[in-house]
Amino acid sequence: MSEQSSSSPPTPSAPPDGRAARTGSGPGRMLVAVYAIFALAAGARAGVQIATRFDEAPVAYALSALAAVVYVLATVALAMDGRTSRRVAVAACSVELAGVLVVGTLSLADPAAFPDATVWSAFGRGYGFVPLVLPVVGLYWLWHVSRRDRRAA
C-alpha cells in the first residue's frame, strides 16, 4: 500500500491518516455504497417498468431508466477514481441534481404528465428524499477530495 510513496518525495501536507486522497476510500466508501444501492434500486425498477408496462407512462419510465444510468455512472466513477473518473462523477452528480430538481418540480406542478412515479418524482419523496441529498453530498465529497489533493501537491 505505502510502496507508491517511496519513489516520490514525501508530501508534508498528506492527510493525517497517511492515505492519498481518493474518492472511493475512507468515507467515500459509504457514499459509493449508497450510490450502488440506488443504482440497483433505480435499475431494477426501470427494468420492471419498461419490461411490463412501458406504454402506460413512457416519459416516466424513460426517466427512470435515465436515472438508473446516471446512478450506475456515478457509482463506478466514484469507486474507480482518477482524473477522468472524477470528471464523470462530477457530471453524473450534476445531472442527478438537475434531474431531481427539474423532475421534482414538474411532477408537483403537472402531476398528469407523470402518471407513475420515478425515483426523482416529488424530489425523491418515495425514497426518503435521499435522491435530493445524495448528489449534493457527492459533489461536496468530490470538491473536498480534490481540495485535499491540491494541498498535498
Binding site: 491518516d17 476510500s25 475512507g26 468515507p27 467515500g28 466508501r29 459509504m30 455504497a33 449508497v34 450502488a36 444501492i37 440497483l40 431494477a44 420492471v48 419490461a51 411490463t52 426518503g128
Partner: protein, 121 residues
Amino acid sequence: MTNALATVIIVVSLLAAAFSAVTAFRNRPMGWGDLVALGVVEVLLIVQAVVGFAKLGGDEGPKDGATFVGYLLAVLLIPAAGAGWGLLERSRWGPGVIVVACLAVAIMIVRMQQIWQGTVV
C-alpha cells in the same frame, strides 16, 4: 412473506446497523461482532427467500410477482456486499458501509411488505 419473520428481520438488521455504528464511532475496522451480526441477517434473509418462494408457489402473494422476486433475491446480496467491503476497507468506514447495508435491508423489507400487501405496485 410472513409479518412475524419480516418484523424479526427488520429488528435484527437495525440492531446490526447499531452495532456497526458503534464500531465505526469507536474508530475500529470491522470485527467479528459485525460479521456475526451480518451473518444472522443473511441467514434470516435466506429463510425469507425460501418461505417467500414456497408461498408464491402456493398461489399466495402479489399480482406483480416479478418485482417481489427481484427484491427477494436482490436483498440477499446486500449483507454479503457489506461484509466484502468491510474486509477491503480496514478503517472505521468498513463498518460505516455495513450500517448503510443493514439500513438498506430494513428499508427493502418494509418495501417488500408493501408490495406483498398490494399497497404499492
